[in-house]
C-alpha cells in the first residue's frame, strides 16, 4: 500500500509553522482546516446539548433539567447544529479544500475574502457562544415572533445579530465558489466534465447567495424591533407574525438544501470511486442539483400550513413540494444504478454512503407525508417532523460529511486512518441512528409535540428506546474523533491515490498537495469518473475460454 514511507518534503501543512502562518493564511487548504477544527468543536457542543435533551426525555417528568434550561438546550442544539455545523460543514471544509483542486486552480478566486469569511464565522461563533454562556437563548432556532420580539427575556437581540453576522460568512463562501467554478476551471474542464461535487456546491452557493440576505434582514428587523418596541412582526403593535414566518422560511427552507446538496455531491464522488464506475446518468444528477436549488425556493410555505396562511397558497406550496422531491428521487435512482455491474468495495467511506442511501431515502419519503396539507394537519410540529428532519440532516448530511472526511482524509493529511475502526464506527452510527430516530416517527404520529421537556406517560417507551439509541450514536461520533486524531500522528503514510480514484484532486502532487496545488496547470482531457472498463467482448471471450476449460468464470464480475 505504501510506495513511499515518508511524506514529501514540501507540502501545504509544513509550508509554514507558527500561529501566524495559520491565522493569516490565504491558502484554501489551510482555511479548510480552520473550518474543520471550528465546526468539529461546534458539533460536539451541539451534540452535548442533544444528549442532555435525550437524557431529560428518558422519563415523562424529566428529572434533569428545569423547563427553561431544557428550552435553552434545544435552542442551543438547533442554532449550533444548523448555523455552526451543518451549513458550513461540507462547503466550508471539504468544499474549501477541494474546489480549487477539483477545478485545477491554485486557489479560490478571492483567497482573502475566503479568510475573512472564516473570521466572520469565528467571530459569530464566539459571540453566540458567549450569548449561550451568559444566560442563554430560549426561542428555538426559528425565533418565531412575537415570542422572540416581545416575550422572551433571553438574549434574543444579541443572538439575532450573531446570526446576521454569520450569514455573511456563508454568503462570501458561496460567492467565492461560484466565481471559482465559473472563471478558474483548468483548460479542458468543461461544465459536463466537472465532478458532481462541484455541481452540488455550485447549486448550494446559489442558495447561499440569494437566500441568506433575506434571513439577515429579517434578523435585523427582529433585533431592532425588540430594541425600539415597534411592531413589524408583533401583532400587539400592529405587526404581522406570519410575515415573519414567510421571510424566515424563504431562507430556512432553501437552507436545508444548503445542508443536504453538498452531501449529495460527496455521495456521487464516493459511490463512483468505490463502485469503480462512472456515476450513472451523470448529466441528470448534475442538473438535478440545480433543479433542487431553484425549486427549493418555491416551497417554503409547507412549513406554514397550519399557521393561518391561505389554504390556496398552501395548495401551491404543497404541489411544488411534491415536485421538488423528484430531482432527489432521480439522484437516488442513479446512485442505485451506479452500483449495478460495478465493483463494489466496503471501505469506510462506502459504508457511510450505503448508510446514507438508506437513511436519506426514509427521510425523503417521509418528507412527502409532510408535503401533504391533509397529513400535516396532524403531523405539524410533532416528533414526526423531528424524525424526518434528522433522517435527512443526520442520516443524510452528516453521514455524507463523514463519508467525505474519510474519503479525502489521506489527501488532507497524507495519512490513513485505521480502516477497521472506521468500518466499526460507520456501523455503530447506522445502528445508533436508526434506534434513536425511528421511534420518533411513531411518537410523532401518536402526537407527541416537539420542544416538550415533559410529556404524557404513554410516550415513554418509545422515548426510552430513542434515548438508548442516542447513547450508541454518541459512541459512534466520539470514535472517529479519537482515531482521526490518532491517525494525524501515527497513521500509516498514505499513497498518492489510495482509492485509485479519478479526479484532479488525486492527481495533485503526491500524497498531500503542495502549497500551490499544481506546479503546472493541468489540462483536462476526459470526462469525470472515467474509470477503466472492460469491453464486454473481452469478458465474453474469457467466459467462453473458461467454459471450454470447465471452470467457473470467476474473474468476470458482471453478467
Amino acid at each position: 500500500m505504501t510506495p513511499e514511507n515518508a511524506l514529501p518534503k514540501e507540502h501545504y501543512l509544513n509550508h509554514g509553522y507558527g500561529w501566524k502562518s495559520w491565522l493569516l493564511t490565504t491558502d484554501h487548504k489551510r482555511i479548510a482546516w480552520l473550518y474543520l477544527v471550528s465546526i468539529t468543536l461546534m458539533f460536539f457542543l451541539g451534540g452535548f446539548a442533544a444528549f442532555l435533551i435525550r437524557l431529560q426525555l428518558l422519563t415523562p417528568q424529566g428529572e434533569i433539567l428545569r423547563n427553561d434550561t431544557y428550552n435553552k438546550m434545544f435552542t442551543m442544539h438547533g442554532v449550533v447544529m444548523i448555523f455552526f455545523f451543518l451549513i458550513p460543514s461540507i462547503p466550508a471544509t471539504l468544499g474549501n479544500f477541494l474546489v480549487p483542486l477539483m477545478v485545477g486552480a491554485k486557489d479560490l478566486a478571492f483567497p482573502k475574502i475566503n479568510l475573512i469569511s472564516w473570521y466572520i464565522f469565528i467571530i459569530g461563533a464566539l459571540y453566540v457562544l458567549w450569548i449561550i454562556l451568559s444566560g442563554g437563548l430560549e426561542t428555538g432556532w426559528t425565533f418565531y415572533t412575537p415570542y422572540s420580539t416581545s416575550y422572551s427575556t433571553s438574549n434574543v437581540t444579541a443572538a439575532t445579530l450573531g446570526v446576521f453576522v454569520l450569514g455573511f460568512s456563508s454568503i462570501l463562501t458561496g460567492l467565492n465558489f461560484i466565481v471559482t467554478i465559473h472563471k478558474m476551471r483548468a483548460p479542458g474542464m468543461t461544465w459536463f466534465r466537472m465532478p458532481l461535487l462541484l455541481w452540488a456546491l455550485y447549486a448550494t452557493s446559489l442558495i447561499q447567495i440569494l437566500a441568506t440576505p433575506v434571513l439577515a434582514i429579517t434578523m435585523v428587523l427582529v433585533a431592532v424591533e425588540r430594541f425600539a418596541g415597534v411592531g413589524i412582526f408583533d401583532p400587539a403593535l400592529g405587526g404581522d407574525p406570519i410575515l415573519y414566518q414567510h421571510m424566515f422560511w424563504f431562507y430556512s427552507h432553501p437552507a436545508v438544501y444548503i445542508m443536504i446538496l453538498p452531501g449529495m455531491g460527496v455521495i456521487s464522488e464516493v459511490i463512483s470511486c468505490f463502485a469503480r464506475k462512472r456515476v450513472f446518468g451523470y448529466k441528470f444528477v448534475a442538473v438535478s442539483s440545480l433543479m433542487i436549488a431553484v425549486f427549493g425556493f418555491l416551497v417554503w410555505g409547507h412549513h406554514m400550513y397550519v399557521s393561518g396562511m391561505s389554504p390556496y397558497a398552501g395548495m401551491t406550496f404543497s404541489l411544488i413540494s411534491y415536485l421538488v422531491a423528484v430531482p432527489s428521487a432521480v439522484k437516488t435512482f442513479n446512485w442505485t444504478a451506479t452500483l449495478y455491474k460495478g465493483s463494489v468495495s466496503y471501505d469506510t467511506p462506502m459504508l457511510y454512503v450505503l448508510g446514507f442511501l438508506g437513511l436519506f431515502m426514509v427521510g425523503g419519503l417521509t418528507g412527502l407525508f409532510l408535503a401533504s396539507m391533509g397529513l400535516d394537519q396532524h403531523l405539524h410540529d410533532t416528533y414526526f417532523v423531528i424524525a424526518h428532519f434528522h433522517f435527512i440532516m443526520v442520516g443524510g448530511a452528516v453521514m455524507a460529511y463523514f463519508a467525505g472526511i474519510h474519503f479525502w482524509w489521506p489527501k488532507m493529511t497524507g495519512r490513513m486512518y485505521p480502516e477497521a475502526w472506521g468500518r466499526l464506527s460507520a456501523m455503530i452510527l447506522f445502528i445508533g441512528f436508526i434506534l434513536t430516530f425511528f421511534p420518533q416517527f411513531i411518537l410523532g404520529y401518536m402526537g407527541m409535540p416537539r420542544r416538550y421537556s415533559v410529556y404524557v406517560p404513554e410516550f415513554q417507551t418509545l422515548n426510552v428506546l430513542s434515548t438508548a439509541g442516542s447513547t450508541i450514536l454518541a459512541v459512534g461520533y466520539v470514535m472517529p474523533l479519537v482515531y482521526m486524531l490518532w491517525s494525524l500522528k501515527y497513521g500509516e503514510i498514505a499513497p498518492a491515490n489510495p482509492w485509485r480514484a479519478k479526479g484532479l484532486e488525486w492527481e495533485a502532487t503526491g500524497p498531500i498537495p503542495a502549497w500551490d496545488n499544481f506546479p503546472v496547470t493541468p489540462t483536462v482531457t476526459e470526462d469525470a469518473y472515467n474509470y477503466p472498463q472492460r469491453p464486454v467482448a473481452e469478458i465474453e471471450r474469457e467466459r467462453a475460454a473458461g467454459r471450454a476449460e470447465g471452470r467457473m468464470p470467476e474473474l468476470a464480475s458482471g453478467d
Binding site: 423528484v326 416538550y452 472498463q533 464480475s557
Partner: protein, 377 residues
C-alpha cells in the same frame, strides 16, 4: 401497558378517518418504493461486490429511456397523490353549517374556553359526541397551536387574529390537547384535556354551571362601552346599525366590498378606520388595548347573535342596567335574542326542559372544571 407501547393514536373524530386513510396510503406507497430501492441497493452491493483488488467492471451504458422514465414517472405520479392529499385537507377544512361554536383563547400557558351558553373552562373542554364543533380561536400573547392528536386537528392560535378549526368527535373519552407551537418556558405544560361526552352526559354537565350566555356578556359590554350611543339604528346615526350585519357583504368608503366576519369585526373594533362602512365618517375610537381577548370574543358573539335575524338591543340609558341572566331561562324583553343553549341544535333537548340555573351568583368569575361526567375510558 408499559411494556407494550401504544403505537397508534386513538381515532376519535370524523376527520381522523380520512387522515388515517391517507397516512396508510402513503405508508404503502412510500414503503413500497423505499423497500424496492433498498432491495436493489442491497442486491447490487452484494452481487457486484469487489472480488479482487484489481477488478475492472465491465463497460456500462446509460439509457436515456431509463433516465427520462424515472424522472417523468414520479413527476406524473405525484400529481394524483397531491390531489388526494389536498382533497383530504379540504374535506376536513370547512365546518358544517350547523357546527356548535366554542371560543378558545390561548395564553401563556393555558387554554381558556367559552361556551356560547356561558360556561367557561380552563384547560378542559367538554364536548358532546356526534356534534360538529367549530373552534374560534385567538391568542392573548404569542402564537400557540391547538393540537388534539385523537382528532388529527391542528391549528395555530395567533394573537390579534381569529383562526378556526373544527372536529366532530365520534367516541366518548378523554383526549389530550397539546400546544404544539413553542410558546415559552412552560410550553410543555400547556396541556389540556378534551372530554368527549355522550349527549345526555353533556347536557348534565351543561346544566351544572351556567351564567348569562356569552352573547349576553357581549351585550353588556356593548352597552357598557356605550357602543350603542353611535350604533343606534336611527336615521341620524353616526355609525352603521349592527343588527343583521354579520355575514353580510358591505361596501367600504374606499369602494371595496368586505364580508363582515370575525376578523372584520375584530379589525373594526381595533382599527376602526381601516375599512369604514360606506356613508359614515371615521370617527370611531379604537379599543385596542382596552379589551381582553375574551371580551372581544363576547362582542363578536353578540354581533353574530343579533346578526341572525333578531333585533339589536335598543339603546339603554344606563349601561349598567342589564344584569347577566342565568342561561336556560328565557330572558325578558331587554334581551331580544334567545340564549344559544336554547337552540334546538344542542343535543336535542328542548329549551323548556332546561334544568334550573346553577348556584353561582351573576358576575362571579367562571366556574372551572366541573367534575367530568363519566367518560369512555
Amino acid at each position: 401497558m408499559i411494556f407494550v407501547p401504544q403505537l397508534f393514536p386513538e381515532q376519535a373524530s370524523t376527520g381522523a378517518v380520512w387522515i388515517d386513510y391517507f397516512y396508510f396510503f402513503m405508508l404503502a406507497l412510500c414503503g413500497g418504493v423505499g423497500l424496492t430501492v433498498t432491495v436493489f441497493i442491497t442486491l447490487f452491493a452484494v452481487k457486484y461486490r469487489r472480488r479482487y483488488d484489481d477488478e475492472i467492471p465491465p463497460e456500462s451504458h446509460e439509457s436515456k429511456w431509463l433516465e427520462w422514465g424515472w424522472t417523468i414517472f414520479p413527476f406524473v405520479a405525484f400529481v394524483p397523490v397531491f390531489f388526494f392529499s389536498t382533497a383530504v385537507y379540504f374535506k376536513n377544512a370547512t365546518p358544517p353549517a350547523n357546527a356548535m361554536e366554542i371560543y378558545v383563547t390561548g395564553r401563556q400557558w393555558m387554554w381558556k374556553f367559552q361556551h356560547l351558553d356561558g360556561q367557561r373552562e380552563i384547560n378542559t373542554l367538554h364536548v358532546p359526541v356526534g356534534k360538529p364543533i367549530k373552534l374560534v380561536m385567538s391568542s392573548e400573547d404569542v402564537i400557540h397551536s391547538f393540537f388534539v392528536p385523537a382528532f388529527r386537528i391542528h391549528m395555530d392560535v395567533v394573537p390579534k387574529k381569529t383562526t378556526t378549526t373544527w372536529f366532530e368527535a365520534t367516541k366518548a373519552g378523554e383526549y389530550h390537547l397539546f400546544c404544539s407551537q413553542y410558546c415559552g418556558t412552560e410550553h410543555a405544560n400547556m396541556i389540556g384535556t378534551v372530554y368527549v361526552m355522550e349527549p345526555a352526559d353533556y347536557e348534565k354537565w351543561l346544566a351544572q354551571a351556567s351564567f348569562g350566555g356569552m352573547a349576553l356578556r357581549g351585550q353588556n359590554l356593548f352597552n357598557k362601552l356605550a357602543c350603542n350611543s353611535c350604533h343606534t339604528g336611527d336615521a341620524q346615526a353616526r355609525a352603521p346599525y349592527l343588527s343583521n350585519i354579520y355575514g353580510k357583504t358591505i361596501q367600504t368608503d374606499a369602494g371595496e366590498w368586505v364580508t363582515v366576519d370575525e376578523n372584520y369585526i375584530r379589525e373594526s373594533i381595533y382599527k376602526p378606520n381601516a375599512k369604514i362602512a360606506a356613508g359614515y365618517a371615521g370617527i370611531m375610537p379604537t379599543y385596542e388595548g382596552q379589551l381582553s381577548e375574551e371580551e372581544l370574543q363576547t362582542l363578536i358573539v353578540y354581533l353574530k347573535a343579533i346578526g341572525s335575524g333578531v333585533q339589536q338591543a335598543p339603546p339603554i340609558s344606563n349601561p349598567q342596567g342589564v344584569q347577566p341572566q342565568p342561561a336556560g331561562k328565557n330572558p325578558d324583553g331587554t334581551l331580544p335574542f334567545k340564549p344559544d343553549s336554547a337552540k334546538p341544535g344542542t343535543a336535542g333537548t328542548e329549551p323548556a326542559k332546561q334544568p334550573e340555573p346553577a348556584k353561582p351568583a351573576p358576575g362571579q368569575p367562571a366556574p372551572t372544571n366541573p367534575a367530568p361526567a363519566k367518560t369512555g375510558k
